[in-house]
Assembly symmetry: C2
Homo-oligomer: 288 residues x 2
């Protein structure tokens, strides 16, 4: 297992972590200032910056991309909306290529309409079928573009509105169905926040193997979580045994970045961005 205590060579910052403090250009400058070598930006931040300009800034600051957030959201109420979602995913692949990302992270979507409080249907198996078909269609496109797709299983509390793939086992079932030969174009983004509770986590990480482990995200589960979406904790402040999980992942040969992704409306989004990055570095070295 790699020793993270000496430096932060393998730290990546998901740009949502400081999205309330800075725009993307400022985040890139701040990461360079803190000697952070990689980021994972969000599409809306890239769009605001301009794709070409974002690509230039990333290159000129010698940053790598541990992922690009995000494609997915496949299920839809009707065929037209479903096609629009797919077209948007094709664009996400193109953008990921342009930015030089290592993968496109997929948050696959849940019951159509649930995010707005009005689910169009309740049959989650149907949503899962639509996700399967959506990834299948996108995979052909991604394969030609040589852009790996990383399915991110989300915590079951997001099953209705954000992602109906909620366990690593399920994500790997989809990978095995669509890419049985493990070509490298389909795998998972493993975020400890979403999967730490799973009694089958170790077994499924071993099943995944290096081929499927495309990204590793960290933050912490706070024991008294106040909000389902915006109350993620800083590594070390919660209950997740992150080094144990990282050990399992690295035992499979994963040697990429450890990406900090924190949405924290009441805490980390309210602090100065430089303080947040300094804390991410300190906790990366002490608690990951």
């Amino acid at each position: 297992m790699r020793d993270f205590s000496r430096d932060h060579r393998w730290l990546s910052i998901n740009t949502a972590t400081v999205r309330k403090q800075w725009k993307l250009a400022q985040i890139i400058e701040a990461c360079a200032r803190h000697d952070i070598r990689a980021i994972s930006p969000w599409r809306d931040q890239v769009a605001e910056c301009g794709l070409d300009q974002a690509a230039r800034l990333i290159r000129s600051h010698n940053l790598e991309l541990s992922g690009y957030c995000r494609g997915g959201m496949f299920p839809a109420a009707d065929a037209k909306t479903r096609q629009a979602a797919l077209d948007d995913n094709y664009r996400a692949v193109d953008e990921a290529c342009k930015l030089g990302s290592s993968c496109l992270v997929l948050v696959v979507g849940g019951l159509p309409g649930a995010l707005d409080g009005k689910p169009v249907y309740k049959d989650i198996a149907r949503a899962r079928n639509e996700v399967h078909d959506g990834i299948a269609a996108l995979l052909d496109y991604a394969r030609k573009a040589k852009m790996p797709l990383a399915i991110e299983p989300l915590h079951p509390m997001y099953a209705a509105d954000r992602a109906c793939i909620n366990t690593l086992e399920h994500a790997l079932d989809v990978c095995d169905a669509l890419d049985p030969n493990r070509t490298g174009v389909l795998g998972v983004a493993l975020d400890v926040y979403h999967v730490w509770w799973d009694p089958k986590l170790r077994e499924q990480i071993e099943r995944a193997g290096k081929d499927r482990l495309l990204a590793f995200h960290v933050c912490d589960w706070l024991p008294q979580t106040k909000d389902l979406l915006l109350d993620r904790g800083m590594m070390g402040d919660g209950v997740i045994d992150i080094p144990r999980i990282r050990g399992w992942v690295e035992n499979q040969g994963y040697a990429g970045y450890s990406e900090v992704e924190i949405f924290s409306a009441a805490n980390w989004w309210t602090k100065p961005g430089d303080d947040v990055l300094a804390t991410c570095i300190e906790r990366h070295r002490s608690s990951v």
Copy 2:
């Protein structure tokens, strides 16, 4: 599948649903008034009423108990606390017998201290081992008392603080390990709120079979859930396809009560108790 639309013969009320409106004696009277045939009371409510008095009231109103809430909370920081938890579980079995309950529901506990915001350790596998050992010890006692134990898998968002058994599959693994001969003394309480998202739900319900399906709880998952504990929805107001799940359960031969268990700080706990019960009846007939 039984037709619930005609009457509410198979409706049970978990007494937490109206705990802010009434004490147990009033709940019992109200249920009788609404022609509700079964309840599932909580230990603190029974203690407040007095165990003998509660047993008398339940008998005199011809109520059945679809469960008794709750035993469990096995993991502890040290041996003394662990033994105290076990002793308390023995008392819970005795109370369940005295009240004539069909089972004692087990919320097994999570990381010791996490409920108070200070987890003593982070090794969830260790907590799961302590749960296994706790249930094993309690099972001997329950077997002699002829009181079935119903492990309730809780939603993964409660893994840290309330229950580290978070899937039906895991609960059934524990059942199979401790009661391989399916003697009827160990099974599960299946609450749709906790398990609806699980892609293996149907398969695991079939694995459970009638022997293991000791209780069936309903409420709904609201698409814009505001609180991790106290924002459960009324059946029909959320995203759970309850009739589908009930169909799977009844296909296995389950013929017991459908128990409504709603914690709702901002909504149902603020309404007159009779209105809540009337709504439970209406939704039991239309949405379960």
